[in-house]
Each structure stands twice: as C-alpha cells, then as structure tokens.
Amino acid sequence: MIVFLFAAFAALTMLEAPGLIKKKQWRELTAYSVLMLLAIVISVFYLKHIPIPNPVKNTQYYVKDMFEYLFGFSYD
C-alpha cells in the first residue's frame, strides 16, 4: 500500500512541478512542496494506524465543559 501511495504522489508531483519550475514560480513551488509533504505524512500515518491529533475528539471535551459551565446542566 505504501508503494502505491508513493507512486501516486510521485506521479502527481511529476505532473505539476515541471510547469512551476519552467515558469520560475518559486513561491508557488515552495507552498506546493510543503503542502505535499504534509499530505504524504498524514497519509502514511493513516495507513500505519498512527493516531494524529483529531480536532473533533479534542473539541468535544471543551464544548461539553463550556456548556455545563455556562448553563449549569449537562445535555449528554
């Protein structure tokens, strides 16, 4: 699976990066590379079942605590 993932990412990069280099858009190329690296890291973590910070799980606790603090009762 990891091999297919890296093959897909390599194909996408080979499709898009040469055009950016040819047009000398270094700022766009930097943003593209950084975001692509982030996507690769998150995808590999997902494939290897490594937990990444989950915004939903973390906001549940403070939303519930805030509701209980503001209105005096819990709705759960």
Binding site: L20, Y32, L35, I42, Y75
Partner: protein, 139 residues
C-alpha cells in the same frame, strides 16, 4: 431474480412481473412508486453536499493562496485535496460518532466560525467604509 422493493409483506399478493387488476393493483403500483422515491432523496443530498463542499474547497484554496501572496491558486488544489481526504478518513471512527458530533458538538463549535467571526468582519467592513475618504486627494 430481483428482490421485490416492497419487501416480504407483499410477496404473497403480487410479484413484480405479475399484473394485478383493480384497486389492489393501483395500491401495489403506488407502493412500488413510493419505495423507489428514496433515490430522489439520495440524489438531492449528493448534489447539495457536492455544491457545499465545492464552495468550501474553493474558498480554502483561494484564501490560502491570497494569504501566502501567490500569483495563482492552482498549485494548491491537489495538495489541499489530498490533505482533506487523508484527514477526513480518520476524523470519525464510525458513522454514529459523526451523527452524535453533528447533533451535539458542532452547533456550539461552529458558532465561532459561522456567527462570531462573520459578525466581526461585517462590523469592521462597516467601520472601514465609514471612515474611508471617498473621492479625496489620497486617491
């Protein structure tokens, strides 16, 4: 053969290929017609959610491109889409957790982004247009 859309209850009275005459036949046809209407609901949900996600995707990509002062937003389309796919795959472990979060967590969480921040933006735009010198020598 194919499964009858009305389920096991009407299997004794009429089979799909069989012709039923009279009032019973009309009710049978109505039941089949009503059962097949849920395709319309699914199609509506698909189209509307597609429109919503398209607007969110476009605004995310365009906003990030303007924030980074890029000349075009096109290089950001593919990486942002890949990040969204990878994050959404492990956001909720099950479907019921998504329903629970949408019912009990998201309204309070979204109040910040859908009520408070747009109100602040609207008020700041109003103040800027109030103090802006229109048609003056600065322009």
């Amino acid at each position: 053969g194919l499964e009858h859309p009305c389920g096991a209850a009407s299997k004794g009275s009429a089979m799909p290929g069989q012709r039923v005459d009279g009032a019973a036949g009309q009710i049978h046809g109505l039941r089949v017609w009503l059962t097949r209407l849920d395709v319309l609901v699914a199609l509506t949900l698909l189209v509307t959610v597609f429109m919503k996600v398209t607007v969110f995707y476009y605004s995310t990509v365009l906003g990030l491109a303007q924030l980074l002062r890029l000349r075009s937003y096109r290089p950001l389309i593919v990486p942002i889409g890949l990040i969204v796919m990878a994050i959404s795959a492990n956001l909720y472990p099950s479907d019921m957790e998504q329903v629970y979060a949408a019912r009990y967590i998201w309204p309070f969480n979204a109040a910040l982004f859908e009520i408070v921040l747009p109100l602040i933006t609207l008020i700041s735009i109003g103040l800027r247009s109030l103090f802006k010198n229109t048609g003056g020598e600065n322009e």
